[in-house]
């Protein structure tokens, strides 16, 4: 069943080159490997320690997410989107319901926009902490990883107070959210915002000017601006190569148009600049969360009963006729909300890049086609290009800096 390495080479192999390639050594990297990037496999052709070619082999976590999307309705599918980029599940929830609400053409309430911004940015901090932690761990720095993990536990505490689950929250619903943000959650977030910058400074002192870290990541895995655009890279990887694009600024969604923040970019495009871009993005996210908490509007979190998509609260259900009708329509089987017979694509700036959903609605409450455009998939396709010519020990550094999440890669 598993593939032999020779089956993975592309079919056109020149005969003259084969004789030279006799001394090349084939190494199978994965799918079970010590680097903290779950199930992916790379078949490497090595000349001593230098990588001549790398053929990725993926699909070891392909679970049929897109097929499930045709059988679960829009509110049930958000639980499945959690399991895509499982390092920052809130961002996936926000992306999915952003797409669903765009398809339905409804506008969410201001409070909901601000809360979704806050949780998306907390998810971004969580993702970047783990990504940089994994880069550190794979090149040998364990302490940075543990610091990052502890701070992620604090973020998990915030999410747990918010909706009950540490991660894989499934917090958003069509037209609103599962629960509103209580004062306890706001207090916890403020405490986190007060305490975190000092820890972030400590963490940066651990790795940022560490001679070994810089030697292992500077100049490694360079992606030029032209290559980044041609290969469809988005997010911190593209920004570290000089592509100055960020969906939060270019086509603002949620509350980003009202908030002030910068978008860090770099020009070298190597692993070190991706690390720096991510650390700078963490600081910008802290600014965004602080501003959003200051200006959090009051009001309802779910859209009103006229839209007929969100469950109304119980007072409305028992006291108004529209509330009763909406509750009935949403809860009874074979009813639900109607979706236009059309297709569209909507994307947000997830921590990994542009996470978009192409949705085709067919009138019923299940999507006809729920396609996820996964940033990890597109970025892993650049891996052979980045690693050619580098040594075996650079593989983990490059793989870590690309932030490949296998569940998003394979869906």
């Amino acid at each position: 069943m598993p593939l032999a390495p020779s089956e993975l080479s592309p079919p056109q192999v020149d005969e003259a080159g084969l004789a030279e390639q006799d001394y090349l050594w084939t190494l199978n990297f994965g799918p079970q490997h010590p680097a903290t990037h779950t199930t992916l496999r790379i078949v490497l052709k090595l000349d001593g320690e230098r990588v001549v070619d790398a053929v990725p082999d993926i699909g070891y976590l392909h679970s049929g997410f897109e097929k499930i999307g045709e059988h679960l309705d829009y509110n049930q599918y958000v639980t499945v989107t959690d399991r895509m980029n499982y390092i920052s599940p809130m961002a996936n929830n926000v992306a999915w319901h952003h797409a669903v609400e765009a398809l339905l053409g409804i506008e969410i309430t201001p409070r909901c926009k601000y809360i979704r911004t806050i949780i998306a940015e907390l998810a971004r901090i969580s993702d970047h902490l783990l990504c940089n932690g994994a880069v550190g761990l794979d090149v040998g720095a364990f302490t940075f990883f543990l610091y990052g993990f502890y701070q992620r536990e604090v973020i998990y505490d915030i999410f747990e107070a918010l909706c009950g689950a540490r991660f894989t929250n499934s917090y958003t619903r069509t037209g609103g959210l599962m629960y509103d943000m209580t004062p306890l959650v706001i207090e916890k977030t403020r405490t986190f915002l007060r305490a975190f910058p000092k820890t972030l400074d400590d963490m940066e002192r651990l790795l940022g000017r560490n001679r070994i870290f810089i030697d292992r990541t500077k100049g490694v895995g360079v992606l030029s601006k032209q290559e980044a655009i041609s290969r469809g890279c988005t997010g911190p990887i593209a920004r570290a190569s000089g592509v100055t694009r960020d969906l939060r600024k270019d086509s603002p969604y949620l509350a980003y148009a009202d908030l002030e923040f910068n978008v860090p970019c770099a020009t070298e495009g190597d692993c070190y600049s991706r690390y720096l871009v991510r650390m700078a993005e963490i600081r910008e996210s802290l600014k965004i969360v602080e501003q959003a908490l200051e200006n959090l509007p009051s009001g309802p979190v779910n859209v009103g009963v006229d839209e007929r998509v969100a469950l109304p609260d119980k007072k409305q259900v028992y006291q108004t006729i529209e509330g009763t009708i909406t509750h009935f329509e949403l809860v009874m089987l074979s009813r639900g909300f109607t979706v236009p017979n059309d297709e569209m694509y909507a994307a947000i700036e997830a921590p990994n890049g542009e996470l978009g959903f192409y949705l085709a609605g067919d009138g019923s409450d299940r999507a006809y086609r729920a396609r996820c455009r996964p940033p990890s998939f597109i970025h892993f396709a650049t891996f052979p290009h980045l690693i050619r010519g580098h040594t075996l020990s650079d593989i983990v550094a490059v793989l870590g800096s690309l932030n490949i999440i296998a569940a998003e890669l394979d869906r």
Binding site: M1, G59, L61, H62, S63, G64, K67, I68, T79, A406
Partner: protein
């Protein structure tokens, strides 16, 4: 005539000693595929520290481990890899199936996800949850330590007689009403 045993001598069976050694130094082989893998890493990280229970290092080489924790969904492309790693581990070895996806397929009843690794691998402990909290995984490891202490032998004789896990047992209806209430709400590993 009773034999006088001085106070600083402990008499026990060799089996118990072997069990005590084995259960307190279970080195896990983290077969982390998906989201449960992150909770596995969180269990090994500083807040819920798995090293307190003897799992000092998470070795990635199957030759050096005795406990395989399958965390996350296993798809049909990955299953031969899982089987090969299980075969490479030396006895005595145990397997914990962490999470709903490894135990029964979880949310993913699709064409590519194996509906429970116990169809193809002998499993000793199941940890429910999606993902299970780190405390649940620690409880499962403690329960597994109890199992090892109670039933282990130094020669590994318990592995020769254990039957294959019946795959359909999870579908058998258990008499829910006759069980005492505290057994229904146990959150740790359940041995079926």
């Amino acid at each position: 005539m009773a034999i006088e045993v001085p106070e600083n001598v402990l008499v026990s069976r060799l089996d118990q000693l072997a069990n005590w050694c084995r259960k307190n130094s279970l080195w896990p082989m983290p077969f982390a595929t998906a989201c449960c893998g992150i909770e596995l890493m969180a269990t090994g990280a500083s807040r819920h520290d798995l090293a307190r229970f003897g799992a000092e290092v998470m070795r990635f080489s199957p030759r050096q481990c005795d406990l395989m924790i399958v965390a996350g969904r296993v798809v049909m492309k990955m299953l031969p890899v899982l089987q090969r790693i299980w075969e490479q581990m030396h006895e005595p070895k145990w397997c914990i199936s962490m999470g709903a996806c490894a135990s029964t397929g979880g949310v993913f009843d699709t064409y590519c996800v194996v509906q429970g690794i116990d169809r193809f691998i002998p499993v000793d402990m199941y940890v429910p949850g999606c993902p299970p909290r780190p405390e649940q995984l620690i409880q499962a490891i403690i329960d597994l330590q109890d199992v090892i202490q109670r039933g282990g032998t130094i020669r590994g004789a318990e592995f020769e007689t254990r039957q294959r896990q019946q795959p359909k047992r999870a579908l058998v209806e258990l008499p829910v009403l006759n069980q005492p209430l505290h057994r229904l709400t146990t959150g740790g590993g359940q041995r079926i």
